[in-house]
């Protein structure tokens, strides 16, 4: 099998362009388990976006729950890039037309006040570098049909990122118990996903430390001002058209988002 970064990039770009997901990349375009090439695809996608004038603002960490890691047969998280234009304002409406098969999850967002240049990172480094935290909803999405992903599929596909919504009240690290903090994601007043800080690699701080070291070793360290979505605190939930979601993380406050019914797409189809 010929591994082809270009072909994988083309398949993903086509999925973004048409809104029609592509078949899994593993097996046909990427060797199962070849993370190096998968990240090369991710970097090529990102380079394309940057060339279009889009602005990278940080990174998201994925696969931070032991259950999800087991499911994908991996023993470490992965990461993807965050772009400024993929941010949704708190309480904003997200058109479904721009998404393929979105799911929502609640996370702790870190905003850095200092660089994290070291290849070996301690929790102290992360604590010192963290300017503030925000509650966040990540709208994950997969360009791979039916979310039928292996580790290389999701890595190539920018860690299955879609959109993200940030709360607007910054909170200091000292004011949140990142390990024990409760998380509830509600739809129509009912909890649809619950969890706690420890669900994210034992502590979201550990996830950020992992990312900082990994990015420093890759030659593109986290910088002051970067935003990091540290990983889900509970299970992902498929988005229902028209639905509103609110995430609350104790100590951090709340953040909300709603989705349209996908009408625009239907209008477009009607021509």
């Amino acid at each position: 099998m010929a591994v082809s970064v270009e072909q994988a990039v083309a398949a993903l770009r086509e999925a973004y362009r048409t809104g029609a997901p592509c078949p899994p990349l593993r097996g046909s375009l990427l060797e199962p388990g070849d993370l190096e090439t998968a990240y090369a695809v991710q970097r090529a996608m990102l380079a394309g976006w940057v060339a279009e004038g889009r602005r990278p603002v940080g990174a998201k960490i994925g696969l931070t729950s032991p259950a999800v890691q087991r499911q994908l047969g991996v023993d470490q998280p992965d990461f993807g890039a965050l772009l400024a234009d993929l941010a949704v304002p708190d309480g904003g409406e997200v058109p479904l037309a721009g998404l393929l098969q979105p799911k929502v999850e609640a996370e702790v967002a870190f905003v850095l006040g200092a660089d994290l240049p070291h290849e070996q990172v301690t929790s102290v480094d992360v604590i010192r570098a963290t300017d503030h935290l925000l509650p966040a909803i990540e709208i994950a999405d997969s360009r791979v049909a039916g979310w039928d992903i292996s580790i290389v599929d999701t890595v190539a596909d920018n860690a299955s990122s879609g959109r993200y919504v940030l709360g607007t009240r910054p909170v200091g690290l000292a004011d949140v118990d990142l390990r024990r903090c409760g998380m509830v994601l509600e739809h129509a007043g009912e909890p649809v996903s619950v969890g706690a800080g420890a669900a994210c690699l034992g502590n979201p701080l550990h996830a950020v430390a992992w990312l900082a070291g990994t990015l420093a070793r890759a030659g593109s360290p986290l910088r002051a001002g970067d935003l990091v979505l540290s990983g889900a605190l509970g299970p992902m939930v498929p988005v229902r058209p028209g639905a509103a979601y609110e995430a609350r993380i104790s100590g951090l406050g709340s953040v909300r988002v709603h989705f349209d019914n996908g009408e625009r797409e239907r209008e477009w189809e009607r021509g």
Binding site: V192, V194, G195, A199
Partner: protein, 249 residues
């Protein structure tokens, strides 16, 4: 009535022997109401042996469990003093059929009627030990109601003043120092206070009078995990502390 007494005896013996039985509904048609009559008899037999009622527990308080059982109402069971395990205490796994543990929050009742604020004196992190007397932990709704909602044991951590918010405290279930389940008190009907209100309503409907110093177990905040011999299990609730038990090797 004979039927009820006989079915209650079957469950009582299963509990005493730590041996599973087949579901009552495998041979007898039961509705939920009859299930509660059987439960009352099961507990009455324990009380005849010298046990005392010390509280109530709620079951099926999570959306996932309700969906799994196809019901829209919570269920409740009775706690006796013999089920109490001291915080940090040790239990013999062999005395149960197939015990599981889950993290909860417990309320200490004032015995006064009325709203949450006056009816509840304190709150504590808690562990519930559940043990269905039915083979493979499989049952219908009337079966589990008759089986006293799988009640088998409970651990209460330190009592704390009731905090302002109870609706989203993070909950960790640890086995041998490792986090095996994470959740939030939001999993308990969105707010454990809602489970309390429903429990009070259901108990009143059944003519049960809530007594001072009774314990109210509001429901599980995560999935249950099997209790393994030799393990140390701890429930940690954000802002409240922890409750733990050991399983003898």
């Amino acid at each position: 009535m004979n039927d009820v007494a006989e079915l209650a005896t079957r469950l009582d013996r299963a509990q005493q022997a730590g041996q599973a039985i087949e579901q009552l509904t495998a041979t007898t048609e039961l509705d939920v109401e009859t299930g509660y009559q059987i439960q009352e008899q099961v507990v009455a037999q324990r009380i005849r042996r010298g046990e005392r009622l010390v509280g109530l527990k709620m079951g099926l308080t999570s959306q996932a469990k309700m969906a799994q059982m196809g019901v829209r109402e919570v269920i409740w069971g009775r706690l006796t003093n013999a089920m109490r395990i001291l915080d940090g205490g040790t239990v013999e796994v062999g005395q149960y059929v197939h015990p599981r543990v889950e993290p909860e929050v417990a309320f200490l009742l004032s015995g006064e009627p009325g709203p949450f604020g006056s009816a509840v004196r304190a709150v504590a992190p808690a562990l519930e030990l559940i043990d269905s007397r039915y083979a493979n932990f499989r049952f219908t709704l009337p079966d589990v109601v008759a089986d006293n909602t799988s009640a088998a044991g409970f651990v209460i951590g330190p009592w704390c003043p009731v905090p302002d918010g109870l609706d989203n405290l993070g909950v960790l279930l640890e086995v041998d120092g490792r986090v095996v389940e994470t959740g939030s008190t939001a999993a308990i009907l969105g707010d454990p206070r809602r489970a309390f209100a429903q429990g009070v309503h259901l108990a009143a409907r059944a003519g049960v009078q809530l007594e001072p110093r009774w314990v109210f177990l509001a429901g599980a905040a995560t999935a249950a995990v099997p209790l393994v011999p030799g393990s140390h299990v701890r429930a940690v609730v954000e802002g409240l502390g922890a409750a733990s038990l050991k399983a003898a090797p």
